[in-house]
Amino acid sequence: MSLQLVFDALSLGGIYAIAALGIALIFGVMNLVNFAHGQFIACSVFALIMPSADAVATMGLGALPAVLLIPAILAFGAGLAVAAEALVFRPLRHASPVALMVASFALGILLQNVLLVAYGGRPKAVSLWPELGSPVAVLSAQVPLLQLLVIAAVVLILAGLALMLKRTRVGLEMRAAAEDFDMARMLGVRANGVISGAFALSGALAAVVALVLVTQTGVADVRMGGQIMLVAFIATVVGGMGSLAGAVAAGLALGAASALLQAFLPVDARPFRDAFLYALVILVLLFRPQGLFASVGAKPRV
């Protein structure tokens, strides 16, 4: 029971962390609160299936073998995010963070309704890799194979990302841009390159979340990006806006809190789990308004 809970918490927290990372990356380099991130996730889910209004989905991209499917969907997510940057956010580069945020909200609504027009509003059954749902015995617990894969994938992604940020030139430029964008540009960092790179990475992370979500739930729903995006946002706020490590830590913490609430709330109160989660977050912020791991740049200097 309790070991099972640990796996639940880790896999849910891992997904939240990946989603939060996608948001924090972009906030770090261009102070954009990207409310379209949830729709990047939803679009990546729907990219798997053919456009139609049927209740059971016909696989499009999703029919490819996993070796091709995973890179294809990651590339789709990255491409979508880069296109969004070029069309919407690049012309707004010098706008205020509030205008950027409102624009991203509008973009999210736009993408959601594009999906609605193409696929209809009803949730669709999608069976992607159903064999991953089969349980595996780990010590005393029965854990779905998918959970183990998710945990492994999250560890790999985080390690890979950390290596990239610490060891490669692109990573160095991204960290420099997150620290002080204008200064980084003066020292020869190409703004367009770094921002496009951050969007590509963020879109690919959204696609990872999409793959996990669709495998886990077996459903493609136009609204599916919204809830996870919100949790991811909360994770970035709690983690201190723009702090990547903070976003990951807060994502894991929220996943754990979510799993615990699900397990220990009275049955009657369980449908309200998310409401408790959001209230918890507002409480945390009351005591640490700058987030738990505030980055240096978060507080404006005079």
């Binding site: 102070n31 609160v33 409310f35 919407v88 012309p91 707004l92 706008a95 963070p97 509030v98 205008a99 945020m101 409102v102 624009a103 909200f105 509008a106 973009l107 609504i109 736009l110 959601q112 309704n113 594009v114 609605l116 027009v117 919204g226 809830q227 919100l230 946002f233 909360i234 970035t236 706020v237 806006m241 449908p271 309200f272 998310d274 409401a275 959001y278 209230a279 977050v281 507002i282 409480l283 912020l285 009351l286 308004p289 987030g291 404006p300 005079v302």
Partner: protein, 359 residues
């Protein structure tokens, strides 16, 4: 005595500006009056309904502006106040027999209530304002962007509660049987009341202090402005009118549902504010009128327009796509909105009156 002359003329210039500011809500109210009279006189039933809906939106968006316009903090949570308002009005006005079947969990006080619609809409506003006071006390301590995200969490929280608290809210199934009393005149009454309140708040010391903190957070706090207190005041007043607007929406359609007060309403309210311009009350009203007319035209096109023998219809959902695209284009090409932060006022010399200097 040149010095005293300068001071006197400055004081009058200040007075002139205050009088000009006072004409804004009056002119906007007249604009809405002309709109209603035109629609009632020349339009059909469909356009009368469109007018009522537009005026409800003016109530919502002008209420929304009281907070967003003055504080510069974008709130995603105001649709939640509309939701609470709509349900409070439903709880207090729907026939008790209907409530017994739809909402068995209501406390006896509400289950037997059969109020008149006016006290019900006031109660709707007060409930929303109370909720804003309590939640705002937490949310508004955050800095701008983080506060916006927290309002989003608040919206999701209210939606989660309303969609699951089935005995009291009916859950995701709709509450029906709200008396449909909202005519263009009712809408006009509340819209004008909201405009008056918005004008008064903007002209008040608190409104001025809040706008100062919007322009420069550091300088305003150095001048002794307690940003948090003024934000909370604006948030509460603003929630009152959004609560009333929500109640009106419910009584306009006759059926309410938690998802009717979620992201789409948030989006529509924000789109109207952004298109017209966040910086001014006139912008909010012009934005509502412009977007409402566009939405109306697009809805008609979604139903199908015949040109000759060919019926041409936009697929459902394209309305939101086009409005969202328009909103992004406005943000890129006219970031301050259609009115660019200006107010509609009478010209200075009309309000200057006697005794004003001619400089």
């Amino acid at each position: 005595m040149p010095d005293s002359h300068v001071i006197a003329s400055r004081a009058t210039r200040h007075q002139v500006r205050r009088r000009m500011a006072a004409t804004t809500p009056v002119l906007l109210a007249l604009l809405l009056l002309v709109f209603v009279v035109a629609v009632v006189t020349f339009g059909d039933r469909a356009s009368a309904r469109m007018a009522s809906e537009t005026l409800i939106r003016v109530t919502l968006v002008a209420g929304f502006w009281i907070f967003v316009g003055n504080s510069g903090v974008v709130s995603f949570g105001h649709a939640a106040f509309a939701c609470v308002g709509a349900y409070v009005s439903a709880w207090t006005t729907v026939a008790p027999a209907m409530k017994a079947t739809l909402l068995p969990g209501l406390p006896a006080l509400l289950a037997d209530a059969r109020w008149h619609v006016l006290p019900a809409s006031l109660a709707a506003g007060l409930a929303a304002a109370l909720l804003a006071l309590v939640t705002g006390a937490a949310i508004l301590r955050l800095s701008g962007i983080a506060a916006s995200i927290a309002t989003f969490a608040f919206l999701a929280m209210v939606n989660t509660i309303w969609a699951n608290w089935t005995p009291v809210t009916g859950g995701t199934s709709s509450v029906v049987g709200l008396e449909r009393y909202v005519t263009p005149w009712v809408g006009l009454g509340w819209a004008v009341a909201t405009l008056a309140a918005a004008g008064l708040y903007a002209a008040s010391a608190s409104g001025l202090a809040l706008r100062a903190s919007r322009e420069d957070e550091v300088a305003s706090s150095a001048s002794g402005i307690d940003r948090y207190r003024h934000r909370l005041a604006a948030y509460t007043i603003s929630a009152f009118f959004c609560g009333v607007g929500g109640a009106l929406m419910g009584h306009y359609i006759g059926v309410i549902n938690p998802d009717g007060f979620y992201l789409n309403l948030t989006f529509l309210m924000l789109a109207m504010l952004v298109v017209g311009g966040i910086g001014s009350l006139s912008g909010a009203v012009v934005g509502v009128l412009a977007v409402s007319l566009a939405v109306d035209a697009l809805v008609r096109m979604e139903k199908g327009v015949s040109i000759g023998d060919v019926t041409f219809a936009l697929p459902p959902g394209s309305q939101e796509i086009l409005i969202a695209a328009a909103m992004i284009l406005v943000l890129i090409f006219r970031p301050a909105g259609l009115l660019a932060g200006r107010e509609i006022t009478l010209p200075a010399r009309w309000v200057a009156g006697r005794g004003a200097s001619n400089d």
